[in-house]
Structure formats: structure tokens, C-alpha cells
Amino acid sequence: MADTDLASLIAGNKAAWDGFVRRYAGLILSAVRTLVREGTEAEDLMQEVFVRLCKDDFRLLKTYDPARAGLSTWLTIVARSTARDMQRRHRPPQSALEAVPERLLAVTDVHAEPLKLPKDLLSPRQQLVLTMLYERDMDVAEVAKTLDVDAQTVRSTHHKAMLKLRAYFGPKRP
């Protein structure tokens, strides 16, 4: 969408808003559809995204800066985070077993000492590569594409991260 259209949209122009909805409703629906199963729920989520965009005199839409990211990219992020927030609000609190701190699950053990992890044991990039590979089960090519690096860099990052983890959790700390 041209900047001028966006400007008139933020100014409250009805025709600009209708054009915006017509153009980006499909994108927003696609973005939220993968998070839900039923069609109606996806449409409700799409509506919630549009509500969020125009709420408080287009407060959220005004934060968009075309110089920093494409509108489609930004809308997808906004749509999915809005959908996830809504789902979180309507769902009873639950968390994956791995996400629950061990102290809450473990049987009291007087010999157990809390594991203190060095803050910079792994770099953010190494953490993200491992998360993508092991948590999301992505393959190396997907990770490389997401991070905009070549596959060899991903392998190297993974290898270095594993060396660090082995050294830390290895013989010294069985």
C-alpha cells in the first residue's frame, strides 16, 4: 500500500480503510489460520486483528514504519501475536513439561543443588540455532534460510554450541 494511502487511512478515511481491509484481510486470515482449526475462529481472530489496528485512533497502525519493514511482514507478525494473545486469554493456563521449572516438578532432594548456568555460555545465535533444530525440528536448510546464512554456518554454529555444552555438562558436572 502506498504511503499516501496509509496516511489517509490513519487520518480516518473510510474508503482507505475499506481498501486496506480488502487488500490485507486474506493475508491476516492466512497468518492466523495456521494457529486455529475452525474457520469461524480464524475469522474472529482476523476481526480482532483489525480491531487492534484501528483501536485508539489507529494507535498500533501509527507505529508502523515502512522504512523498517514491509507492511505484509509487519501485519503477519501483528496478526499472529494478536491471535496467540487471544488464545492465551481464552485457554486455561497450561505449559509444556519442559517449560515447568524443575523445582516445581522434582521430589524434594536434599542433595540437589540448583544448576547455575553461565549467562554467556551460548550466544543468542547459538541458542536460536539449537532451539530451531531441537525444539522446532527444523532442518539445517530451513534454519539457514530463516537466519539468512548458509547451511555450513548453521552446522558450524551448532557444532560450537555442542562443544560448549559438552564441556559444561560433561565429566566435570555429570
Binding site: G12, K14, W17, D18, V21, R22, G26, L27, L29, S30, A31, E43, M46, Q47, F50, V51, T63, D65, R68, A69, G70, L71, S72, T73, W74, L75, T76, I77, V78, R80, S81, R84, E98, A99, P101, E102, L115, L117, L122, P124, R125, Q127, L128, L130, T131, M132, L133, Y134, E135, R136, E142, K145, T146, D148, R155, H158, M162, L165, R166, F169
Partner: protein, 174 residues
């Protein structure tokens, strides 16, 4: 990438590290600005800023899907949106009718002064009427008390002529 045996061992190492990180993280960090995540998805961030986003993504694997979805989002290849859902979203912003003039109270500086003047006029006329009425009443009373007719009138009032009730007395006696 690695042999199955190594993969299992690496996975276990990852889980171990992950649990320790989640334990150490405590309160969830606030989500970065959607524009920042969008810029990250388009690889527009500097290394230092990208690291911040990556550190957050490593702790929020579900948001990695958002980045992937945003990176391949295009406004053209989209889901079809039902007309009713489109209309519902469009209705969020109302059209302003050019025939309808916004209601505004005209600022009339003379109004207050005029109202005050009218009120003073009404009060003054009420005062004049009451004074005149009082004066007229006083004159009438004086005339009655001091005039020639006063004796006759007072006699009529307090000592009515005997003829008035004479027939009545006669009838009753008979």
C-alpha cells in the same frame, strides 16, 4: 548432520541446557516490538539488535513460526475471505456523511449580557408593580378609615341593619 546416536546425545544435552535456562529465566521477558521482529524477519537489523531478538526467540520458540510465516508472507497468495467477514471488518471505521454538519454551539458573546439585562428588567418591573400595588392598597385603606363613609361602612360591617334579619327572626318565632 550427525549420527543418530550423537543426535540423541545432543538432544539430551540440549534438553538439559534448556531446562536450566528456563529455570534461570524466571519471569518471562516482554515481547519485542512487532516492527522489530518484522525487521528481523526481513534481515534488516544490525547484528547487535538482531542478537536481542534472537535471545528472545530462543526462549519463545513459538514465535519462530511467526518469523517464518512473516518472511514468506505476500499479499497476493492469500486465503479467500468471506464477504460477511470483510463487511464486519470494514464496519469498524464509519464513513463521515458530508451532508451532516457537525453540531457546534455558536459562541455568542452578547448572549450572557442580554440574558442578564432581561432578568434585571423583569425584576425591576416586578418591584415597580408591587410598589404601585402596595401604594394603591394603602390609599384605599386610608380612604376607608378616614373618609366620610367610614362610619356608615363600619356600621354596615359590624352592626348590620335590623331589617336584614328581622323577617328571619319573625319567621323563626312564629
Amino acid at each position: 548432520m550427525t549420527e543418530p546416536m550423537d543426535r540423541a546425545e545432543e538432544n539430551a544435552l540440549w534438553r538439559h541446557w534448556r531446562t536450566a535456562v528456563v529455570n534461570a529465566a524466571g519471569e518471562a521477558a516482554p515481547a519485542p516490538d512487532p516492527l522489530l521482529v518484522a525487521a528481523y524477519a526481513e534481515h534488516r537489523l544490525s547484528e547487535a539488535v538482531a542478537e536481542e531478538v534472537e535471545a528472545w526467540l530462543a526462549l519463545h520458540p513459538e514465535a519462530i513460526e511467526d518469523v517464518l510465516a512473516a518472511a514468506c508472507s505476500k499479499a497476493d497468495a492469500l486465503a479467500t475471505v468471506p464477504d460477511a467477514a470483510l463487511a464486519r471488518a470494514m464496519a469498524l471505521v464509519r464513513a463521515s456523511d458530508p451532508k451532516v454538519m457537525p453540531f457546534r454551539r455558536r459562541a455568542r458573546p452578547g448572549v450572557t449580557w442580554r440574558i442578564a439585562f432581561a432578568r434585571v428588567g423583569v425584576a425591576a418591573s416586578l418591584l415597580v408593580i408591587s410598589l404601585v400595588g402596595f401604594a394603591l392598597g394603602t390609599d384605599a385603606y386610608s380612604t376607608l378609615i378616614n373618609g366620610d363613609q367610614s362610619a356608615a361602612l363600619s356600621q354596615d360591617l359590624f352592626d348590620p341593619p335590623s331589617g336584614v334579619f328581622s323577617s328571619f327572626g319573625e319567621e323563626s318565632s312564629s
